[in-house]
């Protein structure tokens, strides 16, 4: 059927703009990443915690003396206990799903710069590292829910907001709308997300996750991004050193099931590489801890109880009752051959 060029062109233009308007409206009204603040559908699974935490930090920034960086495993570290054990310093929490050094370093740089501009300094930084996930491809800035604030990336703010207005995320829209119609306390049937290596958060727009199929246990130090991430950790430690910040690095305790995915000797080499940069508390994978099911939310995430034990161990040297082994302080050491 032949059309007039004018009809053809105007139809094309109209469809383009109507599509845009529908997508923008869906993103603003449903707001899966909680960026626009309408809260019409408050029960969300794809909130951009990186952005929200940075905004929350900026609001109370002058009163903050410490920063806590971790992946979702860090949700087992009680900040009140950490604060009490480090001189009452108030911590800002930067615990995010799939959080890696690529998420943490920009925040630290910005915080140190802001403090220095006011003639102040950060007192404490607590960095919980998932050594078994070191070198994995980071999710930082890859999805709407892992996007860092433009202050941290230097990204054009227009581009940043356009991304949230134009993201087509059918599953996130659908799930947020369906959740709103559920009785209070109920939730959708959601699949169990297994780590390693990637996030516990449900990622609607992430696409296929790079789950390795190990023929033999994975070698952490052979991962493509390993050296670069070591370099970022080095920069992180140097920044703290240069600005007189008391840095505590701890490795997250690993359940034996999670440990079975990786080559243990290679994991030790990775720990040595990190301790070659700065002293660290290595909480390894003690057998008694894996045996205590009550201390794990799942085989990747430990509970608050374990977090308390870790802080006590770091602050006072005390072992948990009945435990013979939990946490070893590794002083700055020679890195392994791969980490040089």
């Amino acid at each position: 059927m032949r059309l007039t060029p004018k009809f053809y062109a105007l139809t094309l233009i109209a469809v383009c703009f109507i599509s845009l308007a529908v997508v923008v409206a869906a993103n603003v009204l449903i707001d899966p990443q909680r960026m626009f603040g309408l809260e019409l559908f408050p029960n969300k699974r794809n909130e951009n915690l990186r952005y929200a935490q940075y905004l929350a930090y900026r609001k109370v920034e002058p009163s903050i003396g410490g920063l806590m960086f971790a992946s979702s495993r860090g949700s087992g570290i009680p900040l009140d206990v950490l604060s009490a054990r480090t001189g009452g310093v108030r911590y800002a929490d930067f615990t995010v799903g799939a959080g890696m050094i690529t998420d943490h370093l920009p925040v630290l740089e910005r915080a140190i710069r802001d403090k220095a501009a006011r003639g102040e300094r950060l007192k404490q930084v607590f960095l919980l590292l998932d050594v078994d996930l070191l070198g994995e491809r980071p999710t930082t800035n890859r999805n709407p829910q892992t996007q860092l604030h433009p202050d941290l990336t230097g990204e054009d703010p227009v581009r940043f907001w356009v991304r949230y207005l134009t993201a087509i995320q059918f599953r996130a829209w659908r799930d947020d709308v369906r959740r709103a119609s559920l009785p209070k306390g109920a939730d959708l049937d959601e699949p169990v997300i297994v780590e390693p290596p990637l996030p516990r958060i449900r990622v609607a727009t992430l696409g296929p996750l790079p789950l390795p199929i190990p023929k033999e246990p994975m070698r952490v130090t052979a991962r493509p991004d390993y050296q670069r991430q070591l370099g970022l950790i080095r920069r992180f430690a140097e920044l703290c050193r240069e600005h007189g910040v008391n840095l505590t690095i701890a490795t997250s305790p690993i359940h034996r099931i999670t440990l079975s995915y990786v080559d243990i000797n290679d994991l030790m080499a990775a720990v040595a590489d990190v301790s070659g940069i700065a002293p660290l508390w290595d909480f390894g994978s003690p057998a008694w801890l894996s045996d205590r099911h009550d201390l794990w939310a799942d085989h990747s995430h430990f509970t608050d109880e374990v977090g308390r034990m870790m802080i006590e161990r770091i602050a006072t040297g005390a072992l948990p009752p009945g435990a013979l082994q939990f946490g070893v302080r590794r002083p700055a050491a020679e890195p392994s051959a791969t980490g040089r």
Partner: protein
């Protein structure tokens, strides 16, 4: 701002077109100057202070052009040479100074921060000065400024000539909306956008692990090295031809017809033919402003060969300050020289089908080998990949599959992880192979967008076209549905904006 970004498509572009035609109702000069200004806004979106560069370039080159028109023959020639040297000096300062310094000092340097569009505007300005010198005619400032700054070609071409675009800009009838051109322009733009976002960008995902591994000094398997080289050949073609088509489509919205830049290059059956089809506007510029002044083919076969190698090597260097680009240019120059010698020796005998097929294969493989230099981070990684392609020093089978693309197939038993680890290692995948072959089949078997659209501006020669008959584009319901289907695919990806490969040049 990028052609494939929502802010460009939904805000900047409609505003620029509407403003242009609204002002054109009152004054052509106002429309030209406004489009110049909107084009400069488009440019400064990238890095505002650098907008001074095109502004100064426009002012200085127009002043020089005006001077050339008024001067006597000798002075005009000297002014033209001065202008060419001045433009080249700016390009050399920003793009090659660090590279030259590294040659002198022997110290490696990082990639220079080259102002966006500098390489392209330098060539446009040089061609302008030469055209003005030859014709002793400079035109009006408003039209000239729009010619240089016009955003559809400003960043990455096509490299337009004042003699072909100037008369179009000067024609008053082009300042009224022509719905034929709007319909055709939007369709070509969306086809180009689809090439970029639906084919080139996904191919780039497969390319990166291979070349990144080589950049780290890690060997890959032979299949992975070939996969990476072929996938990058496809990526570059779909990325740049997609960009060029978007530029043509945008030009049509303003009733201006930009020249064709790609004429189905993967169908070429010789390297000479290939370079008549690939980045046509650059090949044309190099022929007219480098090859011919060097003597072209007028001084015997040996000198012709030297001129060819020199011209294409300069073309390689134009792409970037680095040994890999020089090697890429030299490789193609040598291939061209061999091809010319072969043509002279063989004469004009019509080849058989088998010979044509073999010629096509040799041409394509030679191009893909050259692409290794073009994409590699440095010479050692290019050499490593070439060795791996030849089966030398290849990687051991991978111990685990790291890339995620094949995992779905492995879990369901469609793919053998043993096979993938042995043959593709940790840097290539079955999915990558299927994508690459699919993309190359599209490039090879389907007509080019400009063939569907019967767009012939600046056509290098007409022999390359395949008849599309009744399937040729016209404003019909079927074409509208097809174009909207492409838009749907593109729109789904629209917030994953990625830069065009040729922006770096």
């Amino acid at each position: 701002m990028l052609f494939n970004s929502p802010e460009f498509i939904f805000v900047f572009l409609p505003a620029a077109v509407v403003l242009h035609f609204l002002l054109a109702r009152h004054s052509v000069a106002a429309a030209c100057l406004t489009t110049t200004i909107t084009s400069l806004i488009f440019y400064l979106w990238w890095r505002p202070p650098f907008v001074l560069l095109p502004v100064l370039s426009i002012l200085v080159n127009f002043a020089l052009g005006s001077w050339i028109v008024r001067a006597d023959a000798l002075t005009a020639w000297r002014l033209m040479i001065l202008g060419i040297c001045g433009n080249m000096a700016v390009l050399i300062y920003f793009k090659y100074a660090d590279f030259l310094l590294s040659i002198v000092t022997g110290m490696p340097v990082g990639a220079p921060k080259v102002p966006l569009a500098l390489s392209f505007t330098t060539f446009v300005q040089i061609a302008f000065l030469v055209d003005v010198w030859r014709r002793r005619e400079v035109g009006r400032f408003d039209q000239y400024s729009m010619f240089v700054a016009f955003f559809p070609h400003l960043i990455a071409g096509p490299i337009v000539r004042w003699t072909e675009l100037g008369p179009q800009i000067a024609e008053p009838s082009r300042y009224r909306v022509d719905w034929n051109n709007v319909a055709l322009g939007l369709t070509i733009f969306l086809f180009g956008l689809a090439k970029k976002m639906l084919i080139a960008d996904p191919l780039g995902e497969f390319v990166a692990p291979v070349f990144d591994a080589a950049a780290r000094g890690e060997a890959v398997t032979a299949a992975a090295a070939w996969g990476g080289a072929l996938a990058y050949s496809g990526q570059l073609y779909f990325d740049f031809s997609g960009y060029s088509e978007m530029a043509i489509g945008l030009g049509l919205l303003f009733n201006l017809r930009l020249p064709i830049n790609f004429a189905a290059p993967f169908r070429a059956t010789s390297i000479v033919d290939f370079w008549r089809r690939w980045h046509v506007s650059l090949s044309r510029f190099l022929r007219d402003f480098v090859y011919v002044p060097l003597g072209g083919s007028r001084r015997g076969p040996s000198r012709t060969a030297v001129n060819l190698v020199a011209t294409v090597t300069i073309g390689g260097l134009w792409h970037g300050a680095g040994w890999t680009f020089i090697a890429w240019g030299a490789w193609n120059g040598v291939l061209l020289a061999i091809n010319h010698a072969w043509l002279q020796w063989r004469g004009s005998a019509r080849p058989t089908r088998i010979k044509t097929l073999l010629s096509w294969l040799a041409t394509f493989v030679a191009f893909a080998i050259g692409m290794v230099f073009f994409r590699a981070a440095d010479m050692p990684s290019a050499i490593l990949l070439l060795k791996n392609m030849a089966g030398i020093d290849t990687a051991q089978p991978a111990t685990a599959i790291i890339l995620h693309w094949d995992i779905w197939g492995i879990r369901r038993g469609y793919l053998s992880d043993e096979f993938i680890r042995q043959v593709f290692g940790s840097t290539w995948s079955v999915v990558g192979t299927v994508w690459t072959l699919g993309a190359l089949a599209i490039a090879l078997l389907l007509p080019e967008t400009i063939e569907w659209m019967d767009y012939r501006e600046g056509e290098p020669h007409s022999a390359w076209r395949r008849p599309v008959g009744e399937y040729a584009w016209r404003p019909s319901a079927a074409w509208l549905v097809l174009t909207l289907a492409l838009f749907t695919g593109v729109f789904y990806q629209i917030n994953r904006v990625s830069e065009f490969l040729y922006y770096q040049f």
